[in-house]
Symmetry: C4
Subunit: 251 residues, 4 copies
């Protein structure tokens, strides 16, 4: 086995080349990567593992995975692949995944075509808006506070996910994704109008659970819209007995 092939061969189910097919198979059942749409990339130090373009996501195998050197790609004018599958093309999502890895030191980035995400961007389009905002929902706690910050968002915090307009060619999204990252430095996701969402995290666990929480919130938001319930509310903070007693003692 030559060195390049060793990059995608491992008995460890946590190895990125095994993880990406397992994750994509799970995402397929969730409707996130229907019809070869969407994708997933994992960064292991300098190695970036990427699902190829046009593959049926629930049937992917470790040998289908590209491996790219992040540092050598950044210091050269084109992508440096350490390992390429025989019969595929690189994913058009590649520069978008790289943006999450280089600008946010992410360890994993997931791209879904979830129709909840698409519907949220369509609802916002009807309002002329380019940021999804929701607060006072417990699942918001599933998100970190932001880049290089510790801890998670709280129940009363407003989760904000910027929306960028879709481009004819997926690679052209990169500059707009980077702009959105600059404008919303603490976001872990960017919605793409009429297309889907990019979600990242420090590692696979965080990217995947943030992606799940976000899809949960998008679905809830669409259902709230159908029931005429606003996404942003002004809910008074509940006071515990101790807080009420402390207040009473002060007066």
């Amino acid at each position: 086995m030559c060195d390049a092939e060793a990059l995608v061969k491992s008995d460890n189910s946590d190895h990125p080349a095994n993880m990406i097919p397992a994750l994509c198979a799970k995402f397929w059942t969730l409707g996130w990567v229907t019809g070869t749409g969407g994708g997933c990339s994992i960064r292991d130090d300098d190695h970036v593992f990427i699902a190829p373009s046009g593959v049926q996501k629930e049937l992917m195998k470790p040998e289908d995975i590209y491996v790219l050197s992040l540092s050598r790609t950044l210091s050269s004018s084109s992508r440096v692949y350490l390992r390429s599958p025989a019969s595929y093309k690189p994913s058009q999502c590649t520069p978008l995944f790289l943006a999450a890895f280089t600008k946010r030191q992410a360890g994993c980035c997931i791209h879904t075509h979830s129709h909840w995400a698409v519907l949220v961007t369509l609802i916002l389009e009807g309002r002329g808006e380019s940021v999804f905002e929701i607060n006072n929902i417990e699942q918001i706690k599933g998100f970190g506070k932001g880049f290089e910050k510790t801890g998670n968002l709280g129940y009363h915090d407003t989760l904000r996910i910027p929306v960028i307009e879709n481009t004819a060619h997926e690679e052209d999204l990169t500059e707009f994704l980077e702009e959105a990252m600059d404008k919303y430095p603490d976001t872990y996701a960017v919605l793409v109008r009429r297309h889907g969402v990019y979600v990242w995290g420090d590692n696979v666990h965080k990217a995947k659970t943030q992606c799940e929480s976000l899809d949960y919130l998008f679905q809830l938001a669409v259902e709230m819209k159908q029931l005429n319930i606003p996404w942003i509310s002004d809910i008074p903070k509940v006071k515990t007995r101790r807080e009420r007693e402390a207040e009473a003692a002060q007066q």
Copy 2:
């Protein structure tokens, strides 16, 4: 194997340390524990088995489980863990599970973030109401009549599930959950506004089937709302032939 580890090692699939991962994996497919949300705890006599915080629920393993002594925890000022996993934190749901075990002698308590539960609390919020009420639906028979009572609710009975407001910190919910238990002594569940639901039962079977029945009713209730069908109805009791004949004979 030291004593502590023996608490979560068993070949018996019904052992709580095997049961919790199996249940949580099933709940994940139902959308109840998305993105590390929700949880599950089983009490076996004095031993309380609890899923840890922040774990991907469909990937949990027996060795991830905490075991706590109920009696020693109750008689001391802090929780007494008989066994703790190496790399997790205790669930914030712990005091809420303990409330079900101590105040209701429950054998199992399940916490879901089911979006049907959340939507029901949002619909009720719009009406300024804090109790979910539904009657004349067959699935209501899936609930016991209440604490220390025998038998189940009937088709014409009204199922009432109180709603408590969500707190910024999950542990702070405990006093309000306990208050709701006191106010509705026969309930097997408490809804948490914009958050989810806690459901318990005398054993795993009852907690799980009541949780399923309740999620079924929440989903039905949301769909009824979308079709403008009220949750509470006044349906005349159907008389059987024998009852009609008996009435005729009396007149």
Copy 3:
């Protein structure tokens, strides 16, 4: 192994005692038998195999199954069980299943709590109606023409499923189910208001595929209602080229 136990022990996956657990596990994933609701019975000549009451349907095992003699039950004043599980109670659905076996010579009867079925009965209740009618949908072809008739319904035929009112006790439904069978002799299903549906067929294959087709139609009907599309339509029959040419030749 005593004779009674032999009735539920077989290596053949098509044996009713193996079939019922396999079917019920599948039905659970479809949301038909949530929270111990619903059930399934298979008749093999004189032997009637029935899932017990109150069991988690996706966890059922062959040894949980009751076996009843149909002829001996009919000729006596009470049910004659040839084999009973140790720790369960007979299903309250038993007399309803028996009605399908005796009045319609069915080989299998399925009872679901599918919320699509319940919603259809609720929509009809709002209109003061007691029969579900739909026509001009391809899936209608999935139904047989009726008892002792050969062939299936056509695309333009109207499928009619009667609705009976729910009773406080499930067994009391029997007389109303039988009445509905008498009034609609060709139906393979009876809806129960606010409860679910009973579907039968000559054998497991027919009962199961008719139950699937019906659930498909109930779901479609609810979605049509939400889009203001009527269930009954007057669609002109499409003429094939040959028919058009034949007509032209005649004129």
Copy 4:
């Protein structure tokens, strides 16, 4: 093993006789082939493999598959089967699958009863329309540009899927399907009013991923309708930085 049986026996999971059952089982979980509805056919050079009529799609086995010679069927007045299963009838979809193979050189054709497809035809019926049109949705890129053309549709392109009226007998659809293929030579799918959809592709991969993408779009279209969002929009093309700079330089 006689020659005919060898046609459906292979250890290769990519063999059409193994592929069709695997695909159909997957389609069953997607709700595409409920209650024996729908079907699938694969062409391997001159051999056409077809699922039989009336089979439970998730239970199909390689030995249930028909094999037909395409050339000998075309040059004779009736279908020439090289291999027939013992206990089934040929699918009524057969002439429709053959149309895709002969008129479009397709390698695989899938027929679903997906209720999203049916709902789209019902919404269009209400508008008196016979073609489904959608643009400016990323998933549109999942479709090839058309017969004997290379490349895929773009984001801003309009996907057009013709709708034909359903006939009482499925085989009678053939002439209308062929008419639609002639009128829309680049379509890879034809919707059938109140029935479902036929989707094909050069090979299994393309037929299946186009079918998934189409079902995704049908579902999205129904949800857009419920939210009053039109299917056709006039979205300005986003200009990249380079395009904006080039324009500025020209002025």
